[in-house]
């Protein structure tokens, strides 16, 4: 017992020293040198040729398309991982508060509208597929919470198709432009913004379904496993 306590103190000491070293190193790096000149000027210089006018959207979907494509792959893989652990739990019947049900009814129509707005405005201002997808996912979570038996009753097949739609459409567009002589993930100039809107719409729907699927914590479709 005494050796155990000694070990714990030693662990705390070593961990504390290691974290202090990290803090000192990062602070030193922050204080002494300005963190590189940054890529802001390069981005703003390349912006006229990009498919989106908002610099963040341009970085996400045009300059660094690989990151976003693989990010969709991570989301889809996480959902596959959660679903492979079993079906969603059939929770015990609950009595959702009338306030929740009423509120959900009142604000439900707002979610698709806000989602559409964020998608559309993402090309020129703050917004985009991830924000829009998160808003839609909130609608799905509210729907699940205001059900009497939350969770497993979401339809399985449409969710499967929708969850891979984001990654699928993105990949299809990225490969499709190669048929026209472009390179992977290179958007031909006149079609650029249309293609981005297509990718973003599919990504928003896919992200919303994936987040809702992650929220219920298992494969949908009922059952008790």
């Amino acid at each position: 017992m005494r050796a155990d306590r000694w070990h714990r103190h030693l662990l705390r000491l070593v961990l504390g020293l290691a974290l202090l070293a990290v803090a000192a190193g990062v602070s030193l790096a922050l204080m002494t040198a300005p963190v590189a000149p940054g890529l802001g000027d390069a981005i703003h210089g390349a912006l006229p040729g990009a498919a989106a006018a908002n610099p963040v959207t341009a970085v996400l979907l045009d300059f660094r398309g690989y990151d976003t494509l693989l990010e969709m792959a991570v989301l889809t893989a996480a959902l596959a991982g959660v679903w492979s652990l079993g079906r969603a739990h059939r929770t015990r019947p609950t009595n959702p508060s009338p306030v929740l049900i009423g509120l959900t009814r009142v604000i439900a129509p707002l979610f698709p509208m806000i989602c559409g707005y964020l998608l559309w405005v993402g090309a020129d201002g703050p917004g985009g597929a991830f924000q829009a997808g998160a808003v839609l996912a909130t609608a799905a979570v509210l729907y699940v919470l205001s059900e009497r038996r939350p969770g497993p009753r979401l339809p399985e097949q449409p969710m499967r198709a929708g969850a891979v739609a984001g990654l699928g459409v993105f990949l299809a567009v990225a490969l499709g432009v190669m048929a026209g002589g472009g390179r992977f993930l290179e958007y031909p100039a006149p079609l650029g913004s249309g293609l981005l809107l297509l990718i973003e719409t599919a990504a928003a729907v896919g992200i919303a379904l994936i987040l809702a699927g992650l929220f219920i914590g298992g494969r949908p479709g009922g059952g008790d496993g």
Binding site: V56, V74, F215
Partner: protein, 109 residues
């Protein structure tokens, strides 16, 4: 004081608190919470460091962080699902090493 520096220092602090807890807390839900603290701290540090001494916004850290947030959400959800499975199978939300070490009659920390 520079705003970016303030955010970066705050992010560093949050990251360190999370790192402390992820090592020392045995309960897996606490470990996941601590991992989330660490990633939030890292995001804040990244955005703050990108804003030091700049008048405008550097879009690259912002794009990296928004990608990171989405990845962190999906990793958290997968982790929570696995914790639920561990708790259901073994009866306790602990890693195997901690399960041997922690007596069953003591509340988990």
């Amino acid at each position: 004081m520079d705003n970016g520096l303030l955010f970066a220092a705050g992010g560093l602090g949050v990251f360190l608190i999370g790192a402390w807890a992820v090592v020392l807390r045995a309960h897996l839900i606490r470990k996941i919470l601590a991992l989330n603290l660490m990633s939030s701290g890292a995001f804040l540090l990244l955005v703050g460091a990108g804003a030091i001494g700049h008048a405008g916004v550097d879009p690259v850290p912002q794009a990296m962080v928004i990608t990171g947030i989405v990845v962190s959400i999906s990793a958290t959800a997968l982790g929570l699902a696995i914790v639920l499975r561990i708790a259901k199978t073994t009866g306790r939300a602990l890693l195997p090493e901690d399960r041997e070490r922690t007596p069953t009659d003591r509340p988990l920390r």
